[in-house]
């Protein structure tokens, strides 16, 4: 009798260990993904609900579980407020536990979260923000700058200058993002034998860019870099058309562009515009496959940041699965130096030194409306720049890498 009881106990105990070996090595009993994203203000279309959709898709593609523990997605509308982001993040970390933070709209919020992540050892993938600070002075062991940064965005400037557009004028948003773009674009133009005739730092937000556009034209610019985003970018491009700059043959090059920007003022307003894209829904079969799933639930087409969130979550989960643990130190070490290609990033490398995820960057040109056969198919891909050329060299990073 006693033996049977002992055997049963041993058997059941061993079942616990054998049946779920990985579970015993997961430090937390669930894998919580915290999304800090803009659900209601100016970036809610380029981030927001689209990001949530893709993150949930990635989670469900993993079957909702990782190494035997359930995956939860917690979504917080951070309203681009750094204090709110940090408070909420800390609270959720303390009360529910967080294994991965992703997205994080607003560069200021991102930098604050980076510090928090470093303090509390939380893996973080920044997809929405573009500030280069995240891989320089604000770099940390656990954080990854996953989406885009301002240096990659200057790829079209490189291309156009090489092809003969030598005289540039820049109109940039007067805050870190715009200034960062200005820096990258200026470097790109000069490095290829071009000339920067002048630039204007414009208050953000602004409604009227006509003064600056006319200034650029008067200076003799062949190309005008409009280093703006969102509403300001659209206003500027609308006005460039209005004043006949586009018809006069001046090339308009935005600092970055989204599908919603093209939709807002119509593709014809973007005639001939060339811009850098880190992802495009119609670029290949992989991207189209995931886009189809996306558009079934949400009624609009996904943009690069949306897709970036899928990839970020997917890659982190994959790493956790591969090494069998969610220990942040081990996961981040496993990520360093990883090469991968997925639905979002092609020929990507998770750089070891500064935790920048470099990937192929596409150069897209806006199609005229006559050539658009499918909804939201606004771009024609006219070139691809490999990651190591699109992004700044690892050696130039000021990240101390003190881990």
């Amino acid at each position: 009798m006693y033996r049977k009881w002992l055997a049963a106990t041993c058997l059941s105990l061993s079942c616990v260990f054998v049946a779920d070996p990985a579970a015993a090595q997961m430090k937390k009993s669930s894998f919580n993904i915290l999304m800090l994203t803009d659900l209601s203000s100016v970036y809610s279309e380029t981030s927001g609900p689209g990001d949530v959709e893709f993150v949930k898709m990635a989670v469900s593609d993993f079957g909702g579980k990782i190494n035997g523990v359930p995956i939860n997605v917690i979504v917080v509308d951070n309203k681009l407020d750094p204090a709110l982001s940090v408070n909420k993040a800390r609270e959720i970390i303390d009360t529910q536990g967080v294994s991965l933070m992703t997205d994080v709209s607003s560069s200021a919020a991102a930098i604050a979260i980076a510090k928090l992540a470093n303090e509390r050892h939380i893996l973080t993938t920044f997809v929405s923000p573009g500030t280069t600070a995240l891989t320089n002075e604000a770099c940390s062991k656990y954080t990854w700058h996953y989406g885009y940064d301002t240096t990659a965005m200057s790829a079209p400037a490189t291309k156009l200058t090489q092809e003969g557009t030598k005289k540039w004028y820049f109109i940039a948003a007067d805050f870190a993002f715009g200034k960062s773009l200005l820096d990258s674009f200026t470097k790109a133009v000069k490095a290829n034998g071009g000339q920067v005739l002048g630039y204007d730092l414009v208050p953000f937000p602004s409604d009227d860019f006509s003064s600056y556009l006319l200034k650029a034209q008067a200076a003799g610019a062949q190309a005008i870099g409009i280093l703006e985003s969102g509403q300001d970018l659209r206003n500027a491009v609308k006005q460039a058309n209005e004043f006949g700059l586009v018809d006069a043959g001046i090339k308009i090059v935005p600092g970055q562009i989204n599908l919603s920007d093209v939709k807002a003022i119509g593709p014809d307003a973007w005639k001939g515009v060339t811009a850098a894209l880190i992802w495009y829904w119609n670029m290949d079969d992989e991207s189209r496959k995931y886009t189809a799933r996306f558009t079934k639930d949400l009624k609009f087409y996904p943009g690069d940041i949306h897709a970036g969130n899928y990839s970020a979550v997917y890659q982190v989960l994959k790493t956790v699965q591969e090494i069998g643990t969610d220990d942040p130190d081990k996961v981040t070490e496993a990520m360093e130096g990883k090469h991968f290609t997925d639905m979002f990033a092609r020929n990507a490398v998770m750089r070891k030194r500064d935790h920048l995820v470099v990937k192929d960057t596409l150069i897209g040109q806006v199609k005229p409306s006559s050539e658009i056969k499918q909804e939201s198919d606004f771009f024609k891909i006219i070139g691809t720049v490999p990651g190591d050329q699109a992004y700044y060299p690892e050696s130039e990073s000021t990240c101390k890498h003190d881990w």
């Binding site: 309203k79 200021a108 007067d174 005739l197 937000p205 003064s211 200034k215 920007d261 119509g266």
Partner: protein
């Protein structure tokens, strides 16, 4: 910082050989007229409303936006041409204005300006959020009608036809309005109703109809301006926000209630902004505020003397004298202290500290507002400056934490005192607008010095170092450290309010002339009050920087000035502890709402409207009113009106007799 570096070469270009410089400048000036046209139309409407009803209508910006949205919707979904769209937009927005006036605003006439301002602000948040829910942040293209496409050869340059059309329309409308007001009988009626509505009744004027009609017209004008703007600007729910701030500045600088002033200042500001864009782009928007500040210092009533509003006190103390004494009594302080001690165990500690500090900030605001009778829209300038200076001292200069805090508070209070000397001479809405403009300029400066302040990225690395051997990195410990600081500051405030200075301040709020006639230096009282308020806000700001260990532009943005107003009203103005309660509710709401919904603005807007329409005393004020004042009323005669504004301070300050009715 890698992200903020500027290119090595800086080239400034004004013109190139081969292009006529005159043409270029004139084109830019025309652009200034376009912007100015919108500003003039909006300011005109706002000025008329103010002149008529003494209402500062924050919703004007939303009406601009709605006009653009209407024209877009009718154009995209019903294929309505822009020409008809203008009419439809004007009429629909005008009707909306009248409906709001008849249902909500009408109830607040005769009350303080502050109520209506807050009501209309709340309404603008609601409208903005609703539009966002339906149309999202972006919109489909909306282009110019064929007849107005292309450019016109003006001889020296080509200029877009549509923009010329906008300039012509705005000039015609402004001139037409001026003509109607100055040369027609209807205009005479409106001017009479603006000046003395009660008198006009004796002469058979249907004042309510005139008021509603004027509101309709002004709203329709704003809607039309929005409709005109739709083809040349991106239509979005946030279109009205930036616009409304400029419109305020223009109206105040032009002279409130002065039509000519609004129009001249509107076009003038547009031109000035265009010129600024040529020479120093970053200042293009700040320059409008600077212009306003200059005008107001040089010519206090605005460039055209508008309506004399110097006798407009800004009262917002519906709580009775008894209630006020209760709040300043030791038992109240003990209750508050007890609440303060347990708070970090009920709520996440960093959030609890936030509540404490925002509450103190709001008390700083309330001191000016409820006790001094001055509504400041710019206290965030001191909250933020103190935070930034503290941070900069610690991060860039390496000053130890305690000294940095002292330095931050000192610098900020000094700035506030200096500004106080200028601003304490202004009263009522002028005071409010100047404080608003000043805060906008501070924002601009902070952003300009991004190398030190971090600009959009923020200033990070403001680390809490040990104090007196205690490690402040523990959030609970830091909370209690802040509680001590806040408690001491509140004790100081209570002490001051009970002193002769405090009584004198209240007396000056009630009846300035009377105080002056018996020898009080009211100006000096106000300067002190302002300086004290800045001091309190600065303490809160410096600690805030330490709480989060970073400082961002949010601390000097408009919303940071608006939040303490909301918190004070919610908790109860003049109740000392009400602002803390209000702060707690607002912060907890924001914190919870952000996980639940994306319609936070809608709820907050509704909250504003509810406060102003239904419970003006704020939560604490209402509780005390029902508890104390109702009880005491039953013991007195049937005619005893317990909701009278207090007269006691006058008595204590040595002034007898009944206050002027």
């Amino acid at each position: 910082m890698a992200g903020a570096a500027a290119p090595a070469e800086q080239i400034s270009v004004s013109y190139r050989p081969g292009i006529k410089p005159m043409a270029y400048y004139i084109t830019l000036l025309f652009n200034g007229l376009v912007t100015g046209g919108f500003l003039a139309m909006m300011s005109l409407g706002m000025s008329i409303i103010f002149g008529m009803m003494r209402v500062v209508n924050f919703m004007h910006g939303s009406m601009f936006m709605l006009g653009a949205v209407v024209v877009f919707v009718f154009g995209s979904y019903f294929g309505l041409s822009l020409w008809f769209g203008f009419f439809v937009a004007a009429i629909l927005v005008g009707l909306l204005g009248v409906i709001l006036e008849r249902t909500l605003i009408k109830r607040l006439y005769g009350l303080d300006l502050a109520y209506i301002l807050i009501l209309t602000f709340g309404l603008s948040l609601i409208v903005e959020d609703i539009v966002r829910m339906f149309f999202g942040v972006t919109s489909a293209p909306f282009l110019v009608p064929d007849m107005l496409k292309g450019a016109v050869n003006l001889g020296f340059a080509f200029y877009p036809k549509y923009r010329l059309f906008v300039v012509v329309v705005s000039v015609v409308l402004c001139a037409g309005t001026w003509f109607a007001l100055e040369r027609t009988r209807l205009g005479a009626l409106i001017r009479a109703a603006s000046e003395r509505p009660n008198l006009l009744k004796c002469f058979g004027g249907n004042v309510p109809l005139l008021i509603s009609g004027t509101f309709f017209f002004a709203s329709a004008l704003a809607g039309l301006a929005g409709a005109l703007a739709a083809p040349i600007r991106n239509v979005s729910p946030f279109m009205g926000e930036e616009m409304i701030n400029f419109v305020f500045a223009v109206v105040v600088a032009g002279g409130m209630g002065s039509i000519a002033g609004s129009v001249v200042m509107g076009f003038g500001s547009g031109l000035v902004s265009a010129i600024a864009a040529i020479f120093y782009a970053p200042a293009a928007t700040a320059v409008i505020y600077i212009l306003m500040l200059v005008v107001l210092v040089v010519r206090p009533g605005g460039i055209f003397r508008g309506i004399d509003i110097s006798h407009f006190a800004l009262h917002y103390t519906p709580i009775s004298e008894r209630a006020r004494r209760l709040f300043m009594s030791p038992p109240a302080a003990l209750v508050a202290l007890a609440a303060g001690l347990v708070l970090p165990w009920l709520v996440y500690p960093v959030l609890a500290t936030d509540i404490l500090l925002w509450g103190l900030f709001a008390v700083g605001f309330d001191l000016l507002f409820a006790f001094g009778g001055l509504l400041s829209f710019g206290q965030a300038a001191y909250w933020g400056t103190s935070a930034y200076v503290t941070g900069i001292l610690m991060v860039w200069v390496g000053v130890p934490m305690p000294l940095a805090v002292i330095g931050g508070v000192f610098a900020s209070t000094l700035a506030g005192t200096l500004f106080g000397f200028i601003v304490a001479r202004k009263k009522g809405i002028y005071f409010s607008m100047i404080t608003f403009a000043f805060a906008s300029v501070v924002y601009f400066i902070v952003n300009e010095f991004a190398d030190y302040t971090g600009g959009e990225d923020g200033l990070h690395g403001v680390i809490r170092t040990p104090l007196f051997g205690i490690d402040l990195r523990n959030d609970h410990v830091f909370y209690y450290a802040c509680l001590i600081a806040v408690g001491l500051t509140i004790a100081l405030v209570l002490r001051l309010l009970k002193s002769p200075y405090g009584m004198a301040l209240l007396g000056a709020r009630e009846n300035e002339r009377r105080m002056m006639s018996i020898g009080y230096n009211v100006y000096g009282l106000r300067v002190k009050a302002y300086a004290l308020s800045c001091f309190i806000c600065s303490i809160a700001g410096a600690l805030y920087a330490l709480n989060h260990q970073f400082v961002t532009l949010e601390t000097v943005a408009w919303r940071a000035s608006g939040d303490p107003i909301m918190m004070t009203l919610l908790g109860g103005a003049g109740t000392i502890f009400g602002p803390f309660l209000g702060g707690g509710i607002v912060l907890l709401m924001r914190n919870t709402l952000s996980s639940i919904t994306d319609s936070g603005s809608l709820f907050i807007g509704l909250l504003f409207v509810a406060i102003v329409m239904l419970f003006r005393r704020g939560i604490l004020g209402e509780i005390v009113h029902h508890w104390i004042d109702r009880r005491s009323a039953t013991g007195l005669g049937p005619n005893h009106d317990t909701s009278q504004p207090e007269k006691a301070p006058m008595k204590v300050a040595g002034i007898g007799g009944i206050a002027d009715a």
